[in-house]
């Protein structure tokens, strides 16, 4: 169809044979790209002059953060531990709930199309909810505090791991499972014996990867009142207490780096 609009170039060989060289689409792509960029700028009110004139405010805040006020650290420990507890517990609950859900969503294990598609629908519906929104709703239901944050993280982890895991289950080698069925073993024990050993390393690895992200997610959940370090971060920013903000961010940076290094180390050993 495109070749009808952009007629291909015809190369003729000395012996008279013809080869059609398709026209490059690049000029068209560039034009479309520029048009979209123009309308994006119009729509979002992006203004380069504001960006340039105000950038010094960023460096001002950054300058205020350095050096961080180390004495503030004794006020950081508790919310930091809350954040860690929220992400650990939330990840563990979410990962545990994701396991049965992933089995129900795997079409090679569950033969009922209704169950498979219903489970997948639930998983993708839950996944579309941003963690911050879930946390906000959770604070309405459960009150302010770390419980709301834990629930929000568990919900996100459940949907993320559930989706990853059912896709892994569907690519698994079914030979051993077939043999289990031929021996006369029920579905769930057969799954546990033949398929769980194959998916276990990826399952644990995905859960750890999710935990890494959850520590970062948990840090902002305090914004909506769901407990943890975000609470004091929000508060200090509003008081323009930038040296305390610097301390909070430094503590967070070190914690996240440590967790990621540890999780990375374990995940490398798994696969």
């Amino acid at each position: 169809m495109i070749s009808r609009i952009f007629k291909p170039k015809i190369i003729t060989l000395p012996n008279g044979k013809e080869v059609k060289q398709p026209r490059s689409m690049l000029p068209l792509v560039v034009v479309v790209f520029l048009v979209f960029t123009y309308f994006s700028i119009q729509l979002t009110g992006f203004n380069l002059t504001v960006l340039i004139t105000r950038i010094n405010h960023f460096f001002f805040i950054l300058g205020e953060m350095i050096p961080p006020r180390f004495a503030y650290m004794n006020r950081v420990w508790d919310p930091l531990l809350d954040t860690l507890k929220m992400s650990l517990l939330g990840s563990a609950i979410g990962a545990a709930l994701a396991f049965p859900a992933a089995i129900l969503a795997a079409s090679n294990i569950v033969k009922s199309k209704i169950i498979v598609h219903l489970t997948r629908l639930i998983l993708s519906a839950v996944r579309t909810l941003p963690t911050l929104i879930v946390a906000l709703i959770a604070t309405f239901v459960l009150g302010l505090g770390t419980l709301a944050g834990t629930v929000a993280i568990a919900v996100f982890t459940f949907a993320y791991i559930g989706k990853q895991l059912y896709e892994i289950i569907e690519t698994v080698d079914m030979g051993a499972y077939e043999a289990m069925e031929a021996i006369g073993i029920k579905k769930i024990p057969a799954f546990w014996l033949a398929i769980a050993p194959q998916i276990m390393p990826v399952y644990i690895s995905t859960a750890l990867f999710c935990l890494e992200g959850n520590v970062r997610h948990a840090a902002i959940l305090g914004w909506v009142g769901a407990g943890g370090i975000g609470l004091i971060l929000n508060q200090r920013i509003q008081f323009r207490d930038y040296s305390a903000v610097g301390m909070i961010l430094l503590a967070l940076l070190i914690t996240v780096t440590l967790i990621e290094a540890l999780s990375h180390f374990i995940r490398r050993r798994l696969t």
């Binding site: 080698d173 051993a176 289990m180 069925e181 031929a182 021996i183 006369g184 073993i185 024990p189 194959q198």
Partner: protein
């Protein structure tokens, strides 16, 4: 005794894998089923333990009508029949003995399965079976460390622990080299002679079939073309089963 009476299997795609098959197998027979790929060998074997459903006719094993089995009765029925696969179908990421112990799982509570709590007599049964197929020393080795021939012997041990009356083998030696294939066939023969277990085997290698089996069943396009002892398999029979063009390569 396994009895096929006018058994037909039509796949949803319309392919007729079994076409009015009538066959009887007595207890203790060693039967080789030969035919080209897609001739219906696999369907024939897998119909017996209902891994594939048949669409018409009657199939009974020791008087039990296979078509009517489902759920618990099907699982109990399958437990009495061993099955061996071309690709061994073992759990690669775990040890040999755990694979063999799977044969005892139908009789265990889920709690015990979940935590791998096997009784001592189950372990002894598993190890005895491994000894019977000559790989006792590999009991605690991970399956993915073993060669293909050793893996098929693990599968055979797993089947023996089921204490079956019949063993169905779907191309058990197709993935093995000729020497290993003969070793595995020797184990089948031993099991058949010593324990009186019926063996039904699908096999590509006609010469192995003729060497080991008491009875040859030749099928083509789902129809049984030959049924008789190996010494009656003439070149003409092979020609019928496999079609003209490749006979030189087979014999």
């Amino acid at each position: 005794m396994i009895s096929f009476e006018h058994v037909t299997k039509v796949y949803p795609s319309g392919v007729k894998a079994l076409d009015d098959v009538t066959l009887n197998f007595d207890q203790g027979e060693f039967v080789a089923i030969i035919g080209r790929s897609g001739a219906g060998k696999s369907t024939l074997i897998r119909a017996i333990n209902k891994m594939h459903d048949i669409t018409d006719g009657t199939l009974t094993v020791d008087g039990i009508p296979v078509r009517q089995l489902k759920g618990k009765s099907l699982r109990a029925f399958r437990h009495e029949i061993g099955m061996i696969f071309q690709s061994f179908n073992l759990v690669n990421r775990t040890t040999v003995i755990k694979n063999v112990l799977a044969a005892r799982v139908p009789k265990m509570s889920f709690f015990r399965v979940l935590f791998g709590l096997f009784h001592k007599e189950d372990k002894i049964a598993a190890l005895t079976a491994l000894d019977k197929v000559g790989i006792l020393e590999k009991a605690y080795v991970r399956v993915d460390q073993l060669s293909g021939g050793q893996q098929q012997r693990v599968a055979l041990a797993r089947t023996l622990v089921q204490n079956p009356k019949i063993i169905l083998a779907d191309e058990p030696v197709a993935a093995l080299d000729p020497v290993t294939a003969k070793q595995v066939m020797d184990y089948f023969l031993n099991i058949n002679r010593e324990l009186g277990i019926s063996i039904l085997i699908n096999i590509h290698h006609v010469e192995l079939a003729l060497e080991y089996a008491d009875r040859i069943v030749g099928i083509r396009d789902g129809v049984v073309l030959f049924d008789g002892p190996p010494d009656q398999v003439s070149e003409d029979v092979i020609h019928q089963i496999y079609g003209g063009e490749t006979e030189a390569e087979i014999v």
